[in-house]
């Protein structure tokens, strides 16, 4: 094996010091199926004990690895079995929400995800109870994240669930109005949700997973941006190659962290998620990468093509660097969490429609977008339906995480703090979709769902 040379060492140090290379998250997935009972109090105790025991050392191990390899590991998180699957025999799922939140606090993690329901085809009574409890659950907890899968390529779109989720988003904003509707930042509506996603707010630990696994989500838009500065004016072939090389390096860091965490925690390694996740810090922006390709501002014509190239090259580069790739794996475009996206929205360059187009070619969807507080629940449901349709037809994960900021109008700024950043309120179409949403039922799965 060759001795690492000085220029390689300096390159890595540059990435850490000046290009914000970090690992976004180590996420421990914990199955809660063995907690199930029809005794509400006992269920909560089981959940709390199971999580605090399994994840007892997670935060400490994360810190140890961070100290030894010298790369920041920004978040430590827990994802659990969708709560609707373990609360079928009790009346009030909010009790479990509190137990999950308490477990997050006891273990010292940054977030816990899995206050979730999978209702892409239909809802059980437990699913419905959970969905209806989301606004309360998110207003009485601090670190809990919630997600609901309302559609899939195989099943179509559950429009009854879409309608309920429009209301859930709206009511969550009102229930957390004191914090600018912050609860909505912890609520994701998916189509084609994945079972091993380590990223919040959409992480849950799917029913097809084992007892426990650790997964890692990488980051590093700043590193890609700086690499592209060196190929100014070069043709796209070279741009794609540069991104691939950089994504490989970033993912190798994720793989190393995942392997170490798995070994030290004595828990199987799940996946590395290849996503490029931005933060509101300067130099950590996905929008800046697109602009580096030659766009005046993110949102200009050409943005969708630039993002398509970026998203594909990240996967091609990353896939060889890890033994198991999974999760969402693609570029994220959360508006409030990306300084370039925030600025583009403030300039009026980034509309909801352009963002929707961008979600056709990248990881996930309409993410961390502040919309006017008086947006009707039916309009939010219609936004969810549009985005789910994109996911269903294109066989990809899409999601909606919008914040109808209470009392705010277009042009106002909403502050979420920390990694969640801040966002200008952007307009939604003023036209009604109320009779459309009222129909309910199910949008049938597309023809290409029949692949057998």
């Amino acid at each position: 094996m060759h001795m690492i040379n000085t220029s390689e060492i300096l390159e890595t140090l540059q990435m850490i010091d000046h290009q914000k290379l970090d690992v976004r998250t180590i996420t421990m997935g914990v199955s809660l199926f063995n907690c199930v009972t029809d005794d509400e109090k006992k269920l909560c105790n089981n959940v709390y004990d199971r999580i605090t025991r399994q994840a007892e050392r997670l935060v400490q191990v994360g810190r140890d690895i961070e100290r030894e390899i010298g790369v920041p590991i920004v978040n430590k998180r827990i994802s659990v079995t969708p709560a609707a699957l373990i609360t079928g025999a009790i009346k009030n799922p909010v009790k479990v929400a509190k137990a999950l939140d308490d477990a997050a606090k006891a273990t010292g993690v940054d977030f816990i995800g899995g206050y979730s329901a999978l209702v892409h085809k239909a809802m059980t009574e437990a699913d419905r109870r959970l969905i209806e409890s989301i606004p309360e659950a998110l207003s009485v907890t601090d670190f809990l994240c919630s997600s609901v899968n309302v559609g899939s390529t195989r099943a179509g779109i559950n429009m009854d669930a879409v309608r309920l989720m429009g209301e859930a988003v709206k009511h969550t904003a009102l229930a957390t109005a004191d914090n600018g509707g912050l609860g909505c930042a912890k609520l994701v509506v998916f189509c084609n949700a994945v079972e091993d996603n380590p990223f919040m707010a959409g992480a849950f630990y799917g029913p097809g997973e084992g007892d426990c696994a650790v997964s890692v989500g990488v980051s590093g838009p700043g590193v890609v941006k700086v690499a592209l500065e060196k190929v100014k004016d070069a043709p796209f072939d070279e741009v794609a190659e540069t991104i691939k090389r950089t994504a490989f390096q970033i993912t190798r860091v994720g793989q190393l962290v995942a392997r170490e965490a798995s070994r030290r925690l004595g828990v199987p390694f799940g996946i590395v998620d290849l996503s490029l996740a931005p933060t509101p810090a300067v130099g950590d922006s996905v929008a800046a990468i697109l602009e580096e390709m030659g766009l005046e501002v993110c949102g200009a014509h050409g943005t969708t093509a630039a993002l398509a190239l970026l998203n594909d090259a990240v996967k091609k580069g990353g896939v060889m660097a890890s033994s198991h790739v999974g999760g969402l794996s693609g570029a994220f475009i959360p508006v409030s969490e990306d300084i370039g996206m925030i600025q583009a929205a403030q300039r009026g360059a980034l509309s909801l429609e352009k963002l929707e187009a961008m979600t056709c070619v990248c990881s996930v969807g309409l993410d961390m977008i502040a919309i006017p507080g008086d947006t009707p629940a039916e309009t939010i449901a219609a936004i969810i339906a549009d985005e789910a349709a994109i996911g269903m037809v294109n066989n990809k994960t899409t999601a909606v995480r919008v914040i109808p900021a209470p009392g705010k109008v277009v042009g106002d700024n909403v502050e979420f703090g920390g990694l969640l950043g801040h966002a200008p309120v952007i307009p939604v179409r003023p036209f009604s979709a109320e009779p459309f949403i009222r129909r309910g039922g199910r949008i049938p799965a597309p023809l290409h769902s029949l692949r057998n």
Partner: protein, 93 residues
């Protein structure tokens, strides 16, 4: 298989007397063996990369780091110690 545990120590800051001496004394006292060392000074800025074998049972990464951090504060140069795996992961296929 007992693979060698290696650490990369990087030092960056304004040049002054005794930086190498002090860093290498800490390594010696902690039973780390220097494998490779490269050092340059560009317009008064001192830069050194040192690779050390820290496999010895008497050598603790945390103890080394604590002492190097203290030295870093004392002489106001940036001193960092990292496990070599991070560099190997990023630069080797």
């Amino acid at each position: 298989m007992n693979e060698m545990k290696k650490a990369v120590i990087s030092v960056l800051g304004t040049d002054r007397k005794g930086i190498i001496a002090q860093v290498s004394r800490i390594l010696y006292e902690n039973d780390a063996n220097i494998l490779d060392i490269s050092q340059t000074i560009v317009s008064g800025l001192f830069s050194m990369i040192l690779i050390a074998d820290i496999s010895s049972e008497a050598c603790s990464f945390d103890a080394l780091k604590t002492e190097l951090d203290a030295l870093s504060d004392r002489i106001s140069v940036q001193i960092r110690i990292q496990r070599s795996e991070i560099f190997e992961a990023m630069h080797q296929i």
